[in-house]
Assembly symmetry: C2
Homo-oligomer: 347 residues x 2
């Protein structure tokens, strides 16, 4: 991948040289970032607000495959995945720390690509990169991101606040990231069998991008603020709709009814799933990695959200004894089970 | 290592099952931890204080060798390494997040051992474990810890505050962790050549413990508070005295004079270094992993610290043009160079 470019060995820079090199153009954007990179810890000021912290670990071969993941996209995604958790609290994301472990197969130019993706995400979402750690790795690429943000105490949305009768809403559309991954995996397998054949991803930009370059839904949090809707509960869709709604129901001690016909699925996701012989609804329920927001609102807030094109009402919260159910297009009731991605399955 | 104990496969629990299992006994200890594990992010309240954040990544084969590192010690050390950064800001550490990537060679019992070490450290240092991420790993063990704390704005010690004439102080003693590592590496090599020979670490507890189970210096921060001394600059000794004093001098735009005879070295460190044919001073300067605190104080504070048995004055800050120098026992002036551990050296 980097054969045609200049190759600088990272070991020649050393850890501090690498950090200096990668962070020299970083400018602090948020007032709350009193001190960023360059000391033992960062110093933040969230006077009068609550501090939000979330962290994720991305491992090569488990969470990403460098055969079809450009490093710039990977850096971008690593940030988005984390910001998504702060937005899912109805918070404002403001800082991240990024730690990376890199094997010697990567030249400096590769790490720069990764950091370019990180920087673009930080720029676009107004995030300060305030710290981290870099190390060589014996294994593969390791990326650990911690995101920090803030919220007024009375604005924070936990997973446990859903009440009976609340409407269940989801932003954007679901299942695209999963079907995009199937497409990339198929093209990789074809390429490995016959390297002469070029990947055929034409016209599939949307779902490929859903997988490789997801966007966290800062915009939805802003819209909810503008129309003055505070969700009663909220979570981001990282493991699939089924797994996430079960988290909300379990923590809120409630049940739910979700209507299959209401689940937002993009036509390209739908058609590609069909081509693969996969039920598109299953992609939405169990696929994961969509990084949309799943939330519940009071029925009285329906008028406020009904004109938001990017928010779908897909069901409602019920008493706990009713269980968690999906009502199919043919009106059959299915119990919702979490079949989300299990990071511990033997492969 | 775990052959004689029960073995539970982690995949049978799944990610959420594993998190539930590992975190079920965690109790929140700090008022500032409004919400810990169990939502998209943790929620913290540092009303009126500054928030401190630091993060570290520990990778198997780079930062630790499981051939001689008990997992319980590793968990304990992973926490200490991170808390040390918060104390080095003159702050109070209050929370950590822990993310782990584990290969299928580890049964649940191994992860429990790791978490036991993490829990013991949290208990002893009054830290809340408030979040994290767990995943399988294709290769080895990956541990990422982010620590969070707070400080009054006027108490925070940065690296850049050293002034000409300030005294350079260090807590505890140096070089022990490095020489402990040499000992463990030697015994490992002997064992690999002849598994009949048992490791001979008798009487070497102190230096082995310095390597395997370091303690961050919360106690020094408390002492400095009690005697009302605010260091003008501070850093923790993770990469060796030479590297750390150069950070302080560079960021403060100053020089320094350090006296070799004043550098605190434990007799066991000294003798073992001699046995290995290594200069004990070199262990202190370039060894690293001691997690002691290196700080500068105003000369007028000398009276306050002079009776603290665990704080040594090792030199003073000079004008920048004088450079950074070590005055040897035979009065020869050596320029201090960073030869600390380089995580990117080819091995």
């Amino acid at each position: 991948m980097f054969e045609n470019k200049g190759r600088t060995e990272i070991e020649n820079l050393g850890e501090f040289g690498l950090i200096d090199h990668l962070t020299k153009n970083i400018k602090i954007k948020n007032e709350s970032s009193l001190k960023g990179i360059g000391d033992d810890s960062a110093v933040l000021n969230f006077e009068g607000k609550r501090t939000l912290i979330s962290t994720d670990l991305l491992l090569e071969g488990i969470h990403f495959d460098l055969a079809y993941t450009p490093l710039k996209h990977l850096g971008y995604k690593a940030v988005q995945v984390n910001l998504s958790d702060i937005y899912a609290m109805n918070g404002t994301a403001t800082q991240i720390t990024v730690s990376i472990g890199i094997s010697s197969k990567f030249p400096l130019e590769a790490v720069e690509e990764l950091y370019t993706g990180i920087s673009i995400a930080c720029e676009k979402y107004n995030i300060d990169l305030i710290g981290g750690d870099t190390s060589s790795s014996k294994q593969g690429l390791v990326i650990s991101v911690t995101s920090v943000g803030y919220a007024d105490e009375d604005k924070i949305c936990y997973r446990n606040g859903a009440r009976e009768g609340d409407l269940i809403c989801v932003s954007g559309d679901l299942g695209g990231a999963y079907i995009g991954l199937q497409l990339l995996e198929r093209e990789k397998a074809i390429f490995l069998e016959n390297p002469q054949i070029q990947p055929d991803l034409e016209g599939k930009d949307y779902i490929v991008e859903r997988q490789l370059k997801p966007e966290s839904r800062k915009d939805i949090i802003e819209v909810l603020g503008e129309i003055n809707v505070k969700p009663t509960s909220m979570i981001d869709v990282s493991d699939g709709l089924a797994s996430e709604i079960l988290h909300i129901c379990k923590q809120s001690d409630k049940g739910c009814k979700i209507y299959e016909e209401k689940i937002p699925i993009d036509p390209m996701t739908y058609d590609t799933a069909r081509d693969f012989g996969i039920d598109p609804t299953v992609c939405a329920l169990n696929g994961g990695e969509d990084y949309e927001l799943l939330f519940t609102i009071a029925q009285s807030d329906y008028e406020k959200i009904k004109n938001s094109a990017d928010i779908s009402v897909i069901g409602h919260i019920t008493e706990p004894s009713a269980g968690c159910n999906l009502i199919s297009k043919s009106d059959i009731v299915h119990e919702i089970k979490a079949q989300g991605w299990n990071a511990f399955k033997k492969s």
